[in-house]
């Protein structure tokens, strides 16, 4: 057993974990943040993607001890004071959600792209989502949603 401390969605936490515990189990089973989904459990599908220090990683392949002292963001951390993040709003507006299982992973991957790039193209979106699998939508509306969110974020920036 091991004690680790980290920040998750802006909140400081200290927990006792098993040495070989995976980050996804810590997030879902201990912290009860079930927005993050486990698909394949092998890093192939991207459903479990979360941000660790701003980097998108598959939480099923990440040892929980590795987040000691780090900052994690999950899908639950995007909404602020009841207002959804532009990416979440864009997914709803563009109709990019069908069964919804891949959505949290898609959005967390896109968070990394949209926070690090000034200009984003549909091609960049497709490349950045190459590790996220969706069985329902055919991806077109997901790419639309990403571009819509990109425009929304740019607009917000220009108003500041």
């Amino acid at each position: 057993m091991k004690v680790i401390s980290f920040t998750i969605n802006g909140e400081k936490r200290q927990v006792i974990i098993r040495g070989d515990e995976r980050l996804i189990d810590l997030i879902r089973d201990e912290l009860k943040l079930t927005g993050t989904k486990e698909g394949c459990g092998q890093g192939e599908c991207g459903a479990c993607t979360v941000l660790v220090n701003g980097k998108a990683v598959p939480s099923c392949l990440t040892l929980a001890v590795k987040v000691d002292g780090k900052e994690i963001t999950t899908i639950e951390g995007l909404e602020k004071n009841g207002i959804l993040h532009p990416l979440q709003r864009a997914f709803i507006e563009a109709g990019a959600v069908q069964c919804g299982f891949c959505t949290p992973g898609m959005i967390m991957s896109l968070m990394e792209l949209l926070s690090n790039q000034e200009e984003v193209t549909p091609e960049m979106v497709r490349r950045h989502l190459s590790g996220n699998i969706c069985r329902c939508t055919g991806y077109a509306k997901i790419v639309d949603a990403a571009m819509l969110a990109h425009r929304m974020l740019k607009e917000m920036k220009s108003h500041v």
Binding site: G19, D20, L63, V65, D68, R127, S130, G131
Partner: protein
């Protein structure tokens, strides 16, 4: 259940590794799957990603040195990385996998399909291992076969040194089921210098078609000093077919691999239409 330790320096890490049934973890993209499947049951997992001296990139005029625990994303973000290595790394996994996976992990796994290995063989990279003593070993001597390296118990891979070769263009081809997240069925890397339609120099290596990544010197000798013409490439193709020893596995048959690998060399024809830049 495994115990996990996160040493802050190499000395402590190698000490633990020499005294216990321990396994090094860096990115964990491969290891975590094997641990979950129960294929690997180490008593101790040694997370080396917090050892500062194993991370980062240092470059000089003639070489670049990459710490073994540097992630593939960090490498892609460095402007001094040789183009062929960059090309090969951008084909590995997905952005998420590249954020976790390390170059050292890709090397130590010693997979015949390891995508960083083809460029490392072509550039003539050397690796430094550390334990009781430090050793600098050419990459092709470090890797012995599928999953096998010369690393001894208590030793870890420390860094990779890549000579920066000037004036070479490159080709990298990876054949897989789709462009992301696939393990190579066949891969080919070429470094070449072309002047007035003549190949001044050429180095060719293949992945996934032999117990290790393979550089075919006979092929290089044949092509060097030649124009790129289909007759020469037909001869080159035969050499490839006769040299490589692929296996049949879940991804492809040996016959298919031989066919694809020997035909890939015709990619050289494309550069004659592009004025030397592939």
């Amino acid at each position: 259940m495994s115990n996990v330790v996160t040493p802050q320096n190499i000395h402590i890490a190698t000490e633990i590794l020499s005294s216990e049934n321990a396994k090094v973890i860096a990115g964990g993209t491969d290891l975590m799957v094997r641990i979950k499947q129960g294929v690997l049951k180490p008593d101790v997992i040694v997370d080396i990603t917090r050892i500062e001296s194993l991370r980062g990139i240092e470059s000089a005029k003639d070489w670049i040195e990459i710490g073994a625990a540097t992630t593939l994303s960090e490498i892609l973000g460095n402007p001094n990385i040789p183009a062929l290595l960059k090309d090969a790394i951008s084909n590995i996994g997905s952005p998420q996998i590249r954020n976790l996976g390390t170059i050292g992990g890709n090397i130590v796994n010693a997979s015949p399909a390891g995508d960083t290995l083809v460029p490392l063989y072509l550039y003539g990279a050397t690796v430094t291992t550390t334990g009781c003593i430090e050793r600098e070993i050419p990459i092709e001597e470090f890797i012995l076969g599928p999953g096998k390296t010369v690393l001894k118990r208590g030793e870890i891979l420390k860094k990779i040194k890549i000579p920066l070769l000037e004036g070479y263009n490159h080709i990298f081809e990876k054949v897989g089921e789709r462009s992301a997240m696939s393990i190579s069925i066949v891969s080919m890397g070429i470094l070449y210098k072309l002047k007035d339609g003549i190949l001044q120099d050429i180095k060719v290596a293949f992945g996934s078609v032999h117990p290790t990544v393979i550089r075919i010197k006979e092929l290089e000798t044949l092509l060097k000093g030649q124009k790129i013409e289909s007759e020469t490439l037909t001869e080159a193709s035969k050499i490839i077919e006769n040299t490589i020893k692929p296996i049949t596995d879940i991804r492809a048959t040996a016959t298919y691999r031989k066919k694809v690998a020997s035909r890939l060399i015709y990619k050289l024809l494309e550069i004659t239409h592009q004025g030397g830049n592939a």
